[in-house]
Symmetry: C2
Subunit: 360 residues, 2 copies
DNA sequence: GGCGGGTTCCAAACCGTTTTGCATAATGGG
DNA sequence: CCCATTATGCAAAACGGTTTGGAACCCGCC
C-alpha cells in the first residue's frame, strides 16, 4: 500500500506553531476549559479557521476516554419497525451530540456476540440492544453484570438484569383479543413470531388468556409460530387456513406476518376482511397503506426509541439501575377487521349495521 | 460526575505485566507482525484469555491511523428504500471488517455538512453519501477535491467529480412511459419528487421524452413536484387529479409517492387500476404488499449498495478515480396498472382481453 | 518597594496502542 | 572455540490530543 493518500491532516501542533503559541494554549482556547487572553484567542481562532483545523476525534477520545458514540444492535433492518426505532434513537442521539454505530445482526447469535465485543472494544459509551433471537448471549450478560451502559429495547432478554424499554405486549394481545371478540369472532387463529421471544409469548398469551376468560379458549392447534416476516406469515397463514377453514379471524404477532396472512388469504380466495379478519402488531407506517389498511396494535415506537436513549444517557453519566420501562400500546382500528360473515349477514338482515367500508 | 463507572478495562500493560513480558511482545503475539517464541506466545495468550483482554480500538486507531469505519449519510431512513440500501452496504461492510457510522440528515443541508465534518473528524476511512436535498454542499466538494474516499450513492450531485453509483433513472422513466403507452394510456400525469434532484429530473425527463417521441407530449401542467413521501404523493395526487380528471394514469417518481397517489385516487372515488393506473419507482419491498400491488420500476438496490461499498474500498486502499457506475433498472409489472377504461371497454366488447385481475 | 492575587501561557505527563531499532541469547558452521 | 546468524524480547518514539502544576508577568495596594 502506497500510503501518501491521507490528506496529512493538520494537527493541533501545526496550529500552535502557526499561531506562535503552545499546544496547550490552542487546546484551551478550543475547549474553553481555562481562560485565555483575548489576543491569543483571536490569533489561534484565526489560524484554526485558515488552516481549517478540526481536532482528531480519535485522539480526543483516547485522551478524554469518551467517544460520543453509542452502539446499536438490531436484528433486522428490513422490518420497517426497526428503521422507525432507529430514527427515534438517532434524533435523540444527535441532539445529545452522539453518533450511532450500527450493527445489523440478521438475528444471528454469533454476529450479535461479535458486534457487542467489537462495540465495547471501540469504546462506545453505551449500547442499545435489540435482539431477534432467543439464544442466550454470554457477552451481553457479562456486560450487564459489569454495569456497562446498556439498554435492552423492544425484545426482553429473559433472566438478564438490565435496564430496558418495552411495549406492553401482553396488554396489546388482550386489546387485540377484545377487539376481535367484540366484532363477534369466535373461531380465531394466532400466528406468533419466532418461538422463545418474550414479546411473542406475551402477545400470544395476552390474546389467548383473554379469549379463555371470555369462554372461548383458542385450541392449541390454532396457534402457530413463524419468522417475523411477510414470507413467514404467508406460509404459516396458508397452512393454518388450509387446516382450519373455519377460522374467521387471525391475530398476527407483528405487521409483517399480518401482511403475509393477508396475501395467503387472498391466494385461498378469502377476502379480507370479508371472509377473514386480520389483526397485526406494531403499526408500522406501511400498515396504513396495505390493502386493506391493517387493523393493528400500535407500539409507541418514537417514545420507545427516545426513552431508550434517555435511559442510556442516564447510565452513561452516572447511575446504573435496572429500570424496566413498559410503554402502553393502543389498538388502531382500520380496514382489515370486520364482523365475521355470519354475524354480518344477521345484522345486515336486521338492517342495523351496514357492511363497514374499510377506509382510512 | 463521579467517574469510577468505567470498568477500568484491562490494558495491554496489564497483560504484559501478568505475563511477565514487555508490552511490545504482547502486541506482537497478538498481531503476528513479528515472530514470537512458542512459549511466550502461549503464556501471553493464556493471560489474554484469563484477563479477557480486548485491545482498545481507539488507541489502535490512533496508532495505526485506520478506524475500520465508514460513514453513511442518508436523508430519510423512514423511506424503506434506504434501509434496503443500508442493509446491502452493511453486509459488504461487515464482511470486510468495517462498521457503519450512521448519519440521518432528514434532508437538511446544515445537518449534512455537520455530519460530514464530524465523520471526517472521527477519521472514518470513507463516506457513502446519499443526499436528499438539492442544496450544494461545500464540505462535500472540498472532500472530493482532496480525494477523500467518498462515493455518492443513488442521488447524483451535479457538478461534483467523485465516484458514484446510480440507477439508470432516465431509462427507468422511459420504461415506465413505454409500459403506460402500450397499455393504451394517452392522458398521463407525472408526479416528481423534490425539485432539483437529478434522479427526479432524469426519471421525469425519461418519461416525458418517450411520450413526446411517441407523439403525445405530456403538457407541462400535468407534471407536478412534491416530497418523497406518502403524504406528498397524496397531496400532489389529489391536486393533480382534481385539476385533470381526464388523466388515466400517473407516473410517480418513487414508490412512496405512488402509495400516496393511490390513496388520493381512492379518496376521489377512483379505483386503481380500474379508473386510474399508478406506476412507481424503486420497488421497495412494500410495493408488492400494498393494494393493489404496485407496478414499479425496480432499482437494483442490493447491487447498488454492495457496488458502492466496493468502490469505496477501492479508494481506501489506493486508487482514487471518479468512476461513475450506472446500474440498470427494470419494470416490475403488478396490479396497479391496466389499460384505461375506454380501451378496456373496447377490448372487452371485442372479447379479446378479459379485465385483468391484479395479483402477485 | 515588596507582596498578594490574577492573568496568560507553557512543559510535561498521560491516554493505550503500534512499530522501529537494538540488545541479548541461542544456534550452527567453519 | 569463535564468529556470524537467527531467534527473541525490550525500550522508546510515535499517534494527536487533554490536563495538571507551575512559571512568568502584570496589576494595584499597603
Amino acid at each position: 500500500m502506497q500510503n501518501g493518500l491521507e490528506p496529512a491532516s493538520v494537527t493541533i501542533r501545526d496550529v500552535a506553531r502557526a499561531a506562535g503559541v503552545s499546544i496547550t494554549t490552542v487546546s484551551h482556547v478550543l475547549s474553553g476549559h481555562r481562560p485565555t487572553g483575548e489576543l491569543t484567542r483571536h490569533r489561534v481562532l484565526a489560524v484554526v479557521e485558515q488552516l481549517n483545523y478540526r481536532p482528531n476525534r480519535v485522539a480526543q477520545s483516547l485522551a478524554t476516554r469518551h467517544t460520543r458514540t453509542v452502539g446499536l444492535i438490531l436484528p433486522d433492518i428490513l422490518n420497517p419497525f426497526f428503521p422507525q426505532l432507529v430514527h427515534a434513537i438517532e434524533r435523540s442521539a444527535i441532539h445529545a451530540g452522539y453518533r450511532l454505530l450500527l450493527c445489523h445482526t440478521d438475528s444471528l447469535e454469533s454476529l450479535e456476540r461479535e458486534c457487542l465485543e467489537d462495540l465495547v472494544a471501540r469504546r462506545v459509551e453505551g449500547v442499545i440492544y435489540m435482539r431477534g433471537t432467543a439464544a442466550p448471549n454470554p457477552v451481553l450478560e457479562r456486560l450487564a453484570e459489569e454495569h456497562f451502559p446498556l439498554v435492552v429495547l423492544d425484545e426482553e432478554v429473559p433472566g438478564l438484569v438490565a435496564p430496558g424499554v418495552y411495549a406492553m405486549n401482553r396488554l396489546g394481545g388482550r386489546m387485540a383479543a377484545r377487539h376481535l371478540w367484540q366484532l363477534g369472532h369466535r373461531d380465531v387463529g394466532v400466528i406468533g413470531g419466532p418461538r422463545g421471544l418474550v414479546s411473542v409469548c406475551d402477545r400470544v398469551q395476552g390474546f389467548q388468556e383473554t379469549y379463555r376468560r371470555l369462554g372461548a379458549p383458542v385450541p392449541e392447534e390454532r396457534t402457530v409460530f413463524t419468522g417475523f416476516s411477510v414470507h413467514g406469515g404467508q406460509e404459516a397463514g396458508r397452512g393454518l387456513l388450509l387446516r382450519h377453514p373455519e377460522l374467521t379471524a387471525v391475530f398476527a404477532a407483528n405487521d409483517l406476518i399480518a401482511f403475509g396472512v393477508i396475501q395467503a388469504a387472498r391466494e385461498l380466495g378469502r377476502s379480507v376482511p370479508g371472509s377473514l379478519s386480520v389483526l397485526g402488531f406494531d403499526d408500522v407506517t406501511t400498515a396504513a397503506m396495505v390493502d386493506p389498511p391493517l387493523t393493528t396494535v400500535r407500539q409507541p415506537i418514537r417514545r420507545m426509541g427516545s426513552e431508550a436513549f434517555r435511559l442510556l444517557m442516564g447510565q452513561v453519566r452516572g447511575t446504573w439501575e435496572p429500570v424496566r420501562r413498559q410503554l402502553p400500546t393502543r389498538l388502531v382500528e382500520r380496514g382489515s377487521t370486520a364482523p365475521p360473515e355470519r354475524v354480518r349477514a344477521v345484522s345486515a338482515a336486521g338492517g342495523a349495521t351496514p357492511p363497514r367500508s374499510p377506509g382510512a
